[in-house]
């Protein structure tokens, strides 16, 4: 197993290197003057020259790339040109929003999508099946931002004065805040990696508020997350439901399922123990693949629901020509994608003993 993981990791290195290079080049062909994009149109030439030297933009591009790789090797993602702050700090601030949103969206997609797919497969061509598949088709066809706006319209306007009303934007209501972990635990003196990790988890409001017992803030954070998570999770949900359905239909036609039925096992037992377990393998692949799509969706969800997450930061960095932020954030996203796919590959072994590496 260890050898399998190591080999998979080695394969991803050239891909990651290519990615770093591509991002680096792409960030530099963006037209426009970074100096005047940051300091304003009226910055003088002298000021701009100093700016360019300061950020090493006067060096030839291969040299810049070399310097960048050197910094990366030391875990330094650079300093944002626009915010004048380390990119890692920006990440600690913005990443939790996206992680929280994506995880919740994916949970929503799996928890609803898998049972829906199973129900459709068992009652094939019944009204449940047809209804579920029509909904799934509509779900994959609707843009995230349109769904987001529809949901806002329904839950924040039409249901405004009912108990179902939900907030249309932001992460917390005005006046509500989640106290950071370092303050709750009296660790304000800590610095470095520990502080970074603590601050990162503090940013995942639904998590940090729950473990520190700030239930009022927790409820508020959850209420704010519901609509964005539904908007973002609907496309994966529809895809998961369809894959589960077709995979289970295929498994239900297998000989071992007939054997199980012939043994006189109860139908529920046959479906759950014998068929569904094996049918879930392709579902795991799809869940892994959805991660990339989820991130594209996060950009749109974050701008629809006014959330300051990674997606929106990246979009702002691209339009503001903040090379350092573009590079750092894309790298993190890509690494996350690669890691998720690795986890998917490894989980195969647990789900299907036939492909468990020796």
């Amino acid at each position: 197993m260890t050898r399998f993981i190591i080999r998979r990791l080695l394969v991803t290195i050239p891909v990651l290197f290519g990615l770093v290079f591509l991002v680096f080049v792409l960030a530099r062909v963006v037209p426009g003057d970074p100096c005047r994009a940051v300091l304003g149109e009226r910055a003088t030439d002298a000021v701009c020259d100093a700016f360019i030297v300061r950020y090493g933009l006067d060096q030839p591009i291969p040299v810049q790339f070399g310097i960048y790789l050197g910094q990366l090797a030391q875990g330094d993602l650079g300093t944002s040109i626009k915010h004048s702050r380390p990119v890692t700090q920006l990440l600690i601030e913005r990443l939790p929003t996206t992680v929280e949103l994506s995880v919740l969206a994916l949970i929503f997609a799996i928890v609803i999508g898998v049972p829906l797919g199973i129900a459709s497969a068992i009652r094939r061509n019944s009204p449940i099946d047809v209804g579920a598949m029509v909904t799934a088709n509509l779900g994959v066809s609707m843009p995230v931002f349109v769904l987001g706006l529809f949901l806002q319209f329904i839950f924040a306007l039409l249901l405004k004065n009912t108990f179902l009303a939900l907030p249309a934007s932001g992460r917390l209501s005005a006046g509500v805040s989640v106290e950071p972990l370092v303050e709750v635990w009296g660790m304000t003196g800590t610095t470095g990696i520990v502080r970074g990790i603590l601050d990162f988890f503090s940013g995942i409001y639904t998590f940090s508020a729950a473990i520190t017992g700030q239930w009022g803030a927790w409820l508020d954070a959850v209420r704010h997350l519901i609509l964005p998570a539904i908007a973002l999770g609907t496309i994966p949900l529809a895809i998961i439901a369809r894959i589960t359905r077709s995979s289970l239909l295929e498994t239900l036609g297998q000989d071992y399922v007939r054997t199980a039925r012939a043994k006189g096992l109860r139908e529920r037992w046959v479906v759950i123990r014998h068929a569904t377990r094996n049918a879930l393998l392709p579902v795991v692949t799809v869940v892994g693949l959805q991660f990339g799509a989820l991130f594209s969706g996060a950009v749109l969800t974050e701008s629809t629901f006014n959330l300051a997450g990674v997606g929106r930061t990246l979009f702002e960095a691209i339009s503001g020509r903040d090379y350092v932020v573009i590079q750092g954030f894309i790298l993190i996203v890509a690494v996350a994608y690669v890691v998720v796919n690795l986890i998917v590959d490894i989980s195969y072994g647990y789900l299907d003993p036939r492909i468990r590496p020796q």
Binding site: P14, V15, G18, L19, L22, L26, A27, V29, V30, P31, N137, L138, V140, S141, M142, P143, V144, F145, V146, L149, F150, Q152, F153, A156, L157, G292, A293, F295, S296, G297, V299, L300, S303, T304, G311, L314, F315, I318, S319, I326, I330, V333, A334, Y337, V338
Partner: protein, 330 residues
């Protein structure tokens, strides 16, 4: 050996003799008298047995007709503000159809008026042109470039294959929307650049599809036979191998156009394409996104248009896949 004892002919129990000749045919194929298989008729028959394909094809026909006959269908000029040109026109006024009880004193607007005093219905109708044109063009570009890359990778093999496919992996490792945003920002804000960006991020899918068909067919006996007959490499590739990738390309391409329509709407929604001088659904939503609570119709109308368009391609693509994949034929 007499003609009557020809075992091949006896199998079919068919009358002896070739057509119109006194000479007995060596092999009179017993299957030839069965209903002749017609590839196109069978395929069409299969497609129209799929419910989703019928619904998808119907929706798509309506859309294409809407796009083609937009000037006839639209009630107003989609780009012209009606302020000062039409009496009683109100900014962002809700839909008003006289036949449905809207007072005739008000001007008729089937889907209402937008924030610039323009008729929403006419803009949605003209928007079909933009979305369909960009969807077809972007995926057409991706199919052509992807097929070339896939053919080279699969046919040449070796390190060429490795380099090309790793390059495709790199593109796939990006969240596609962000890559498209970055390309449009780099190339300058315009719809054409958005089209190219969507095309570029879609290339890897088609490259993989074509490569896998090429790999599967490369060692087939009929390819070896063509090679033995002296057919050139290009000839083998284009005439013997490529037809195998046609089915997956058609299926993937149909689904891909739906995806491209979604992406173009997303790109114009986030605003990287700059201000547009043609009516486009994503930008219609983007411009009015702050007006959701007081004038929902200006957002819901183009939103539904995008959804229906993508739905049409998805249904047709699913139906095509089920119809064209012989393994799924029941």
């Amino acid at each position: 050996m007499s003609a009557t004892s020809d075992p091949l002919r006896d199998v079919g129990g068919l009358p002896a003799g070739g057509p119109g000749s006194g000479i007995p045919a060596l092999v009179s194929d017993p299957l030839a008298r069965a209903r002749p298989a017609n590839l196109w008729r069978d395929t069409l028959g299969n497609i129209f047995r799929q419910r989703s394909a019928i619904v998808g094809a119907f929706l798509l026909t309506v859309l294409v007709l809407t796009a083609v006959f937009a000037p006839v269908i639209a009630t107003h000029n989609p780009n012209q503000p009606l302020l000062g040109r039409e009496q009683g026109v109100i900014k962002r006024s809700p839909p008003c159809v006289h036949a449905l009880g809207c007072p005739t004193t008000k001007p008729q607007h089937i889907l209402g008026v937008d924030g610039n005093f323009r008729d929403v219905f006419s803009r949605v109708v003209y928007g079909a042109r933009v979305s369909l044109a960009i969807g077809f063009a972007a995926i057409g570009f991706a199919i052509v470039v992807g097929s070339i890359i896939g053919m080279i990778a699969g046919f040449v093999g070796g390190w060429t294959d490795n380099v090309l496919m790793r390059l495709m992996d790199v593109i796939l490792a990006f969240p596609s929307l962000l890559l498209a945003i970055a390309i449009v920002t780099a190339a300058g804000p315009s719809l054409v650049n958005a089209l190219l960006a969507i095309g570029i991020v879609s290339v890897p899918i088609y490259a993989r599809v074509v490569r896998s068909s090429v790999l599967a067919a490369r060692e087939a006996d009929y390819v070896t036979a063509s090679r033995a007959l002296g057919e050139s490499g290009i000839g083998i590739l284009l005439r013997r191998i490529m037809p195998n990738s046609l089915t997956p390309l058609v299926v993937q391409g149909t689904l891909g156009i739906g995806g491209a329509v979604l992406e173009i709407a997303a790109l114009t929604f986030v605003g990287v394409t700059g201000s547009l001088d043609v009516p486009e659904w994503g930008s219609m939503i983007s411009i009015e996104s702050q007006q959701l609570f007081n004038a929902p119709h200006v957002i819901l109308a183009p939103g539904l248009a995008i959804t229906l368009t993508v739905l049409a391609f998805n249904l047709l693509g699913d139906g095509l896949r089920d119809a064209l994949d012989p393994r799924l034929n029941r």
